[in-house]
Assembly symmetry: C2
Homo-oligomer: 225 residues x 2
């Protein structure tokens, strides 16, 4: 903000303090989860990328593993109610306007999540390709869900989310025949930012391609213990 420099400087000072405090609380959460051998996955993605659809497929594929879900939304509890109706242990965080989850929000809600030892905790972040990537929330890995219908240029336009991801999903793969999706351009963009995250092409709607991602998550969870 070029014309409000005084306020901007104050804002940056305050924000740095909030980042530091946030990271400290995220580390506390991670340590507590480690003690209980809980593996936490921060699911990030744009609005409508299919975070909940993919999550439901993963929970079905991991049916021998105890699972808990914390659902983040600005308002509404549509996804939490869907999951609960399917017998999933899910709790809601409504941020009431805030564009991302943060470590304090998770700490406040963690006791309500009724975690079992050796479980997987999925935390579905606010639908937003920008802000969630800046905040640790106590997760062990970040799972980024991109979707084919959003176009192949997303790694170039929202680099931080792709850079920070430990694993990337290209969702809505069933719609590829009806789109002008440039796979080469998409993967080139990812590889310029992130050489370590595997990319899984799948469809949360049909379930196709979800099993390999579930298998990969099992391995990450085992190797983390």
């Amino acid at each position: 903000m070029t014309q409000v420099n005084d306020k901007q400087t104050k804002k940056i000072d305050v924000q740095q303090g909030i980042y530091d405090e946030n990271d400290r609380l995220a580390a506390q959460t991670r340590a507590e989860l480690d003690q209980r051998h809980v593996f936490a996955i921060n699911i990030m993605g744009a609005p409508g990328a299919g975070k909940t659809s993919v999550l439901r497929r993963l929970i079905a594929a991991l049916n021998d593993v105890p699972v808990a879900v914390i659902e983040g939304d600005i308002e509404s509890d549509i996804d939490t109610r869907t999951l609960q109706a399917e017998g999933v242990n899910a709790v809601q965080i409504n941020t009431g306007g805030a564009c991302h989850l943060d470590a304090p929000m998770i700490r406040t809600r963690l006791k309500d999540a009724q975690l079992s030892d050796h479980s997987i905790l999925f935390i579905e972040n606010i639908g937003n390709l920008v802000c969630p990537a800046e905040f640790q929330i106590g997760e062990h890995i970040k799972l980024l869900i991109a979707d084919a219908t959003a176009g192949s240029d997303k790694p170039y336009k929202y680099p931080l989310a792709f850079e920070k991801a430990d694993v990337i999903v290209l969702n809505k793969y069933d719609l590829i025949p009806y789109l002008d999706f440039d796979s080469t351009f998409f993967y080139k963009g990812i590889h310029a930012l992130n050489m370590k995250a595997p990319v899984f092409e799948l469809s949360g709607k049909t379930g196709e391609g979800c099993a390999p991602l579930a298998a990969w998550l099992r391995i990450q969870r085992s190797s983390h213990k």
Copy 2:
């Protein structure tokens, strides 16, 4: 942020100051545009909703009206280069991380946009359904682009963007046959928030349905003068 109350209070104070300063600068911009009979449209939408595709269709349909574009992106200038290659007068703002455009950014870049009197200024905001809705940037109307592939629950999950919109586009309408899109649920969600904004169903990809939106914008522009 429940456990960082002191910092949170400071953050809110500083943010209110930034909102006020932002609104003051937005009003200045709007007054300057009014003097020159320039009609400014703030285009908002999630990443990959198809903001640029719809914009290109509108520019083609409004081919007798002088047009300028300010393209907002966190990084990259992909869309600006696409528009410039088509002969469109377009300039880029890169926010370098910030999740929305604000009034100071627009004021800084406005002189580079080479506005003609009686033109339309399209400002494409950062792909984000949350933060852009909170900031005026000097626009006369807000055009919200939702897309069918993102699902019919978006008005419930991102209410502020739908509430503040003066006109709403349901893009990617060509893909409806391949989706489980619940139109009744979508419109019910919009009408609970916003009874005044018309909704245009169209496809930025095929161009179908874009002419009625262009005609509506012409009327808004004329009645504004």
